[in-house]
């Protein structure tokens, strides 16, 4: 039976890959969930582009401080060791290559690592880019967190993006609800299958030429 991870399961899987001491930016929307699954005994430092390192969890409702929010404009808290800075310094951290990991959502990811996550290009839609283009080119590792398929059942992993790009060749890895994919020299490599999912099922769902990079495959050779 096909295994489809929930968003929380994907978030937990991503969290497990982030080493202690990493500086991490979690994009607005679903990637924010990753924070809930970071091991509490490890020190991982969250960056929010609106000017903070050492961001902590959502506060209790009566501890909401409107001066202390994340990039999604949600209330957050301050960890010991936190620091505040202005927007140019915050984006200098990003654009200067100092963040270890960012996690972003996606409309599409192409097999060369191109990312489309800010606009469907639909006529009449209101564009909004925020910090996504800066994160895409700035973080050392750009992880995408997404469902593999659109609501219409189309693969979000594609040969080349049809939607407007956020960044070129910038994605390192894609965590989907079916499997994990690494971007390797212009091709997606499936590095982990969730549950009993098979490589062939993923090939069928994406319609792409994929590399089988799962440990099992490696072992079998």
């Amino acid at each position: 039976m096909t295994t489809v991870f929930t968003r929380d399961q994907i978030a937990a899987r991503i969290a497990a890959d982030i080493p202690e001491g990493s500086f991490v930016n979690l994009g607005i929307g679903a990637p924010t969930l990753v924070a809930n699954y970071l091991p509490t005994d490890l020190e991982i430092i969250l960056h929010t582009e609106n000017g903070m390192l050492g961001m902590g969890a959502s506060p209790a409702v009566d501890q909401v401080d409107p001066d202390l929010i994340n990039a999604g404009k949600q209330a957050v808290s301050e960890q010991p060791g936190a620091a505040y800075f202005h927007h140019a310094d915050s984006f200098a951290m990003m654009r200067g290559g100092h963040l270890d990991v960012c996690v972003l959502g996606a409309f599409q990811v192409a097999q060369n690592g191109d990312l489309a996550n800010w606009s469907t290009g639909a006529p009449g839609s209101i564009p909004a880019i925020g910090g996504a283009m800066d994160l895409a080119i700035g973080a050392k590792s750009v992880y995408v967190m997404t469902d593999l398929l659109t609501k219409q059942g189309e693969s979000k992993l594609v040969e080349s993006c049809s939607y407007p790009l956020t960044g070129v060749g910038c994605v390192s890895r894609v965590y989907t609800d079916y499997a994990i994919f690494d971007v390797q020299a212009g091709t997606f490599a499936v590095t982990e299958l969730f549950g009993d999912n098979t490589f062939d099922e993923i090939v069928a769902l994406t319609g792409l030429a994929l590399i089988d990079g799962t440990a099992g495959k490696g072992d079998a050779r």
């Binding site: 929010t48 984006f91 654009r95 800066d134 080119i137």
Partner: protein
């Protein structure tokens, strides 16, 4: 004696002419100078170009300025939000011009204006539709786009405390665009919770030195503070919580 404080909000925003470019600090509601914006609405300037990260939230502050038809153009990174209905309506009706700028370019271009940089090669937006029409160059094997400074006639900023020389400190993530906008405008106007005695602010911790500040106006403490102590009991818009949420109402 230098004294940059002005006695009220109307004097704080005096002289902003029609057609001015006005930077407005804040990221969403945090650091948004709502009282200065309300004063600007009352003051009446029209045909403004606004520089802000967003395009207004709800019906207050920047959104109210837009709703009053005062804004010709907005330069921002993230106009579309769950509560940006005022902007959304104006944009769909073709009543406001939008220049969409990636947030990092927005911040760096504002800084460049304040720092005397003529232009800079930025790594962001290469290969995207926002690169169209921009000069590109490969430096050390990487492609960059040439970006120009964003200057303003006025900056409206919300901060925590100031002294009469215009030295300013901020509070938590409400700092955001304030320090860089203060450097990029010909006239920088800061609203603060509190004006403190000269010499009270720690020189090691001043974030915006007075050289960048022209006018300071005191608006009083926000509802989630009491004598500088965080007392909570508000929602994200700063409204007191209801009793069922653990508040006084």
């Amino acid at each position: 004696m230098i004294d940059k404080s002005v006695p009220n909000l109307s004097q704080a925003v005096a002289g902003i002419p029609d057609g001015a470019t006005v930077m407005i600090g804040g990221f969403g509601r945090a650091g948004q100078p709502v009282e200065l914006i309300d004063a600007l609405i009352a003051q009446g300037a029209r045909d403004l170009t606004i520089v802000n990260n967003n395009a207004g939230n709800g019906d207050t502050g920047l959104a109210a300025l837009l709703a009053n038809g005062r804004v010709r153009k907005i330069i921002c990174s993230f106009p579309r939000q769950s509560d940006s209905w005022v902007f959304d309506g104006l944009y769909r009706e073709g009543k406001i011009e939008l220049e969409l700028v990636p947030q990092g370019n927005l911040a760096e271009r504002i800084r460049a204006a304040g720092a005397g940089v003529g232009a800079f090669f930025s790594p962001t937006a290469v290969g995207t539709e926002l690169a169209e029409g921009k000069e590109s160059r490969v430096i050390d094997g990487r492609t960059y786009l040439l970006e120009y400074p964003i200057k303003a006639d006025f900056a409206l900023i919300s901060a925590y405390k100031a002294d009469r020389w215009g030295n300013v400190i901020y509070r938590k993530t409400a700092r955001n665009f304030g320090p860089i906008m203060a450097t990029a405008a010909k006239t920088t106007i800061v609203q603060v919770d509190e004006l403190v005695e000269l010499g009270t602010l720690d020189p090691e911790s001043v974030v915006t030195p007075g050289i960048f500040v022209d006018r300071v106006v005191v608006v009083g403490e926000r509802r989630w503070l009491n004598n500088g102590e965080f007392v909570g009991g508000v929602d994200l818009e700063g409204r007191p919580l209801t009793a069922s949420e653990g508040g006084d109402r």
